[in-house]
């Protein structure tokens, strides 16, 4: 049967959410483009171009990094792009309107409070909600491509990145407009502060946390509903809290003002967020690896995978170490090909309605066997280990050190 690409990614016009996505994009995009046009007119000529070039250069490796966070199954490009564009246009545009009204309302109640705490209250409330909805929209548009907690983490991070880049470009234009003849320096300084120093552990990190919460609720059907709700609420609350602390004047109130203090605050907030994100990412990876180990458990018993090979697939780090263990020119390449084939096999098997007769799986089994026989024919043996191999970070129950030593 020919499978249309429509079902694989974003383009699913039979879903209500698909049309809501497009409407939201049009509404938010209109606001963003209007804001960009107004600020471009106020800024010196060339400011928009410089801001776009700087953030494009910054964005390329960051997108690659986020893309690599997925361990076994990369998300369809169209859905990943949809999450990114939602963050950049729909979430940013609606947040611009909502934040303006929110801070204005607070200013009417107490202008002093609004000046100090307005961004801390309004920013996380509107922005985190709208960015998290990117993950919900992806689930509603194509639930079939949303399988595990790590999916929500990655989609959330992509939505956050889109939001951050557009927001930062708007800020950069405002700074350029205020900086007079030294606008290039002002714009570059804004890029250094918001992009280089504060870039990775703000919007992308906060949205990744709440995205993991939504994904836990949606995908962990084996857990009680109360627990799923609690985990989702805690993670969404955590992303709100980290954003709130980042926007608040808490540091200034505790330690006084100053340029160095601002940098200290950025670094402190960044480190806290980074620690939280690493803990959640590792937990998501543990779930991901457990899923993969379960899928290929029969194949380990059948000899298609060794327990050690399954353990080597646990993280990008263990994969690299397994490749480095191979000597010679062909050894590392063959090991990499073996890993790719084994991952493709596990993913295809998880999606196959009948793994025993699936021709794609049969082909992958043959490929794995061929690569393994190529490795066995290598003139050089794998490099002997001088010390025991480290235990894989996530214990699947399959790998035991004595089996490996015996092998």
């Amino acid at each position: 049967m020919i499978r249309l690409p429509l079902g694989e990614g974003f383009l699913r016009p039979h879903r209500h959410a698909f049309w809501l996505y497009l409407v939201s994009l049009a509404v938010g995009g209109t606001t963003v483009i209007g804001s960009l046009a107004r600020r471009t007119a106020e800024a010196p000529p060339g400011a928009l171009l410089l801001a776009v070039v700087l953030y494009a250069i910054w964005l390329a490796p960051v997108l690659w990094f986020v893309w690599r966070l997925e361990l076994f199954e990369r998300e369809p490009i169209s859905l990943a792009a949809a999450a990114f564009v939602w963050g950049g246009l729909a979430a940013t545009g609606l947040a611009l309107a909502a934040n303006t009204a929110f801070v204005s309302y607070l200013a009417k109640l107490d202008s002093g409070f609004a000046a100090s705490w307005g961004p801390a209250v309004a920013g996380p409330t509107t922005e985190e909600t709208l960015k998290t909805l990117a993950v919900v929209m992806i689930v509603l548009i194509n639930r079939g491509q949303f399988d595990r907690v790590l999916d929500g983490f990655v989609y959330g991070a992509l939505a956050g990145l889109g939001f951050q880049v557009v927001e930062d470009v708007i800020y950069a234009l405002s700074i350029a407009a205020k900086s007079g003849s030294g606008w290039v320096g002002g714009l570059v300084l804004s890029f250094v502060m918001r992009g280089l120093i504060n870039g990775l552990w703000t919007h992308a990190a906060w949205s990744a946390i709440s995205g993991a919460g939504i994904a836990y609720f949606v995908t962990r059907r084996d857990r009680p509903l109360n627990r799923r709700l609690l985990v989702a609420a805690v993670l969404c609350g955590l992303s709100w809290l980290l954003h709130f602390v980042n926007n608040s004047p808490l540091f200034v109130l505790m330690f006084g003002g100053g340029g160095l203090l601002t940098i200290a605050q950025i670094i402190f907030n960044g480190m806290v967020t980074l620690c939280v994100v690493i803990v959640i990412y590792r937990a998501a990876c543990r779930i991901e690896y457990g899923w993969f180990a379960d899928v290929v458990a029969d194949d380990v018993r059948a000899g298609l995978f060794t327990p050690r090979e399954v353990a080597d697939l646990a993280t990008n780090g263990t994969r690299r170490r397994a490749i480095r263990r191979m000597r010679g020119l062909r050894g590392p390449r063959l090991q990499r090909e073996l890993q790719h084939a084994q991952i493709a096999y596990g993913v295809a098997k998880s999606r196959s309605p009948d793994p025993a007769t699936d021709p794609r799986l049969a082909e992958l089994r043959r490929t794995i066997a061929e690569i393994r026989s190529d490795i066995a024919r290598l003139p050089t043996r794998p490099r002997p280990r001088l010390r025991p191999a480290p235990r894989p970070p996530f214990h699947s129950g399959l790998w035991r050190p004595q089996e490996d030593e015996a092998a």
Binding site: H14, R15, H16, A17, W19, L20, S24, A41, E42, A43, P44, L94, A97, A98, T100, A101, F102, V103, S104, Y105, A107, K108, L109, S111, G112, A122, T125, T126, T129, L130, L133, V136, M137, L140, R143, S174, A177, K178, S179, G180, S181, P353
Partner: protein, 187 residues
């Protein structure tokens, strides 16, 4: 999915996920509309505190205590103050090569609304901080004064507008002039 029949609405859309999509639309509407409605129903004017400084772009100025800030209209980088029937707006103009270029730009933007016309030859003046400016008359459906201040390539417009009848309180006009004179770019 094999053996699974999708239930569709009259428009060919899946019934599955319709409720959740409506909930998402409701949340989005709530995020934008709740603060917008709260803001629209709250009193829109905040009193000016003694010693307070307002900013507009790179410029700042000292508001007169008897004026009140129009909070909603002061959100987009400009400051809008209301005193009696008069409105005083300070709006950054961005880059301008000279005070004259800044004045022409501000006049064109003001006249785009169709209610006001900037007429006559503008007179030069200096703010208390010594920064150069031009000021001229506004006529038409409203009357008032357009002033621009220019400093190192950056410019700001201060627009005082009042209905022609009844004539605005001369005290308010003097206060507006003092606010314009306090415009400066902080060092």
């Amino acid at each position: 999915m094999a053996g699974h029949t999708r239930r569709r609405t009259g428009f060919g859309l899946d019934k599955e996920g319709r409720g959740a999509t409506l909930a998402v639309a409701g949340i989005m509407a709530g995020v934008v509309l709740i603060p917008t409605l709260l803001n629209a129903t709250a009193d829109g004017y905040a009193p000016v505190r003694a010693g307070e400084r307002f900013t507009a772009g790179a410029f700042r100025f000292e508001p007169e205590p008897s004026w009140r800030m129009d909070v909603m209209r002061s959100m987009n980088g400009q400051s809008v103050l209301v005193g009696g029937s008069a409105t005083y707006t300070v709006r950054p103009l961005g880059r301008a090569g000279s005070p004259h270029a800044a004045y022409l730009l501000a006049a064109r933007r003001l006249e785009e609304g169709g209610l006001a016309r900037v007429s006559g030859v503008p007179r030069p003046f200096r703010t208390r901080a010594g920064q150069a400016g031009l000021t001229g008359e506004i006529t038409g459906a409203v009357e008032g004064r357009l002033s621009v201040v220019h400093h190192r390539g950056r410019a700001v417009a201060a627009v005082l507008i009042a209905p022609p009848r009844p004539l605005p309180d001369p005290g308010l006009l003097r206060q507006a002039e003092r606010m314009t004179a306090s415009l400066e770019v902080p060092p």
